[in-house]
């Protein structure tokens, strides 16, 4: 059985790659993480095309969790998912802090937790002290 995959959507290529570096230290080898940061030209912004590409690469039985930072990141993630109707039901775009949420998700994916369980742990309310 595959493990829940994770996609990081950020306005900055560096943020997305940096989060990938951060979690790669803690990551089980069979947890797959994909960075979709910046616009097509590497400027600050998000790209529905990059996100679509990541969604296709991440696609697996256990599903994919998508984290995003601000503004258009969520809209482009939702748009990218609309463009890939086959993936519907197997992807969750989750409202969580992008760095902290991705970290927790990668740890829990490594433990073999389901998409739903991970989403429940990382949703914003869980970060309140």
């Amino acid at each position: 059985m595959s493990k829940t995959a994770v996609i990081i959507v950020s306005h900055s290529e560096k943020i997305a790659e940096g989060i990938n570096d951060l979690v790669s230290q803690t990551k089980q080898p069979d947890v797959h993480v994909f960075a979709a940061g910046g616009t097509e030209d590497g400027e600050i912004g998000t790209s529905a095309d990059k996100i679509q590409h990541a969604l296709q690469q991440a696609d697996n039985e256990a599903g994919t969790l998508v984290f995003y930072d601000i503004g258009s990141a969520l809209m482009n993630a939702e748009l990218a998912l609309d463009m890939l109707p086959d993936l519907e039901g197997n992807v969750e775009i989750v409202n969580a802090p992008v760095v902290e949420g991705t970290y927790v998700a990668v740890v829990e994916a490594g433990m073999g937790k389901s998409l739903e369980d991970i989403a429940a742990s990382v949703r914003r309310q869980q970060f309140v002290e």
């Binding site: 600050i44 912004g45 601000i70 503004g71 258009s72 809209m75 939702e78 748009l79």
Partner: protein, 206 residues
């Protein structure tokens, strides 16, 4: 009123010209209550959309507008990319297979576009966004025989009304009360888009 494929192409080309001309001003508006890239975003997206439209031999208005939607989605970068992209995409679906649109057909596409923006942005009119131009323009188109000067006037007046609104969606919402007394950049670019439509309608009537 009949909107032909050529009028729709002219709309895209004229919209591009306006985005290029007002690029700096759009970014200035966005600098005040956002990140200062709205002109850059719109100019980049519409330039390619207009180029493609000019070169296209497509007769199907749905296909023409869908291509424009995909270009905006790919090229715009900011929130306006998925928003304008979704608007054109939803409209294109209604216009599929048509080479000419009656007023009601046009209105049907515009309605789908507005629904698309609302869904994509999880917003309604009144939050100081592009919807504050799209919604009244749709309302006008649905309930009147379209007259080009009226489309333009409706868009302009609605755009101006965003100045006194408090932003509740998008980056501008982080500015809270301070967002008041600035025109919303996306409302301004939408005004430009509908001004371009008015010019296209004028051309059709001429």
């Amino acid at each position: 009123m009949e909107l032909t494929t050529n009028v729709m192409k002219y709309w895209l080309v004229t919209a591009d010209e306006k985005m290029q001309t007002h690029k700096e001003y759009l970014s200035e508006l966005d600098q005040a209550i956002g990140d200062g890239d709205h002109g850059h975003n719109m100019a980049r997206g519409f330039q390619v959309a207009a180029e493609n439209a000019k070169e296209s031999t497509e007769e199907d208005i749905g296909a023409l507008m869908k291509a424009a939607a995909m270009t905006l989605i790919s090229k715009v970068g900011g929130a306006s990319g998925p928003l304008y992209g979704t608007a054109f995409l939803k409209a294109s679906d209604k216009w599929k297979g048509k080479t000419s649109l009656s007023k009601d057909e046009f209105a049907e596409g515009l309605e789908a576009a507005v629904e698309g923006i609302k869904t994509r942005g999880k917003a309604e009119a009144g939050s100081k966004t592009m919807l504050d131009v799209w919604t009244p323009v749709l309302d006008y188109v649905q309930h009147h025989d379209i007259a080009a000067p009226d489309v333009s006037a409706k868009a302009k007046e609605s755009m101006e009304q965003t100045e006194s609104m408090k932003a509740e969606k998008g980056r501008a919402s982080y500015y809270g009360e301070e967002s008041i007394s600035h025109i919303d950049p996306g409302a301004y670019s939408s005004y430009l888009l509908f001004e371009a439509l008015a010019e296209a309608l004028d051309k059709e009537e001429a």
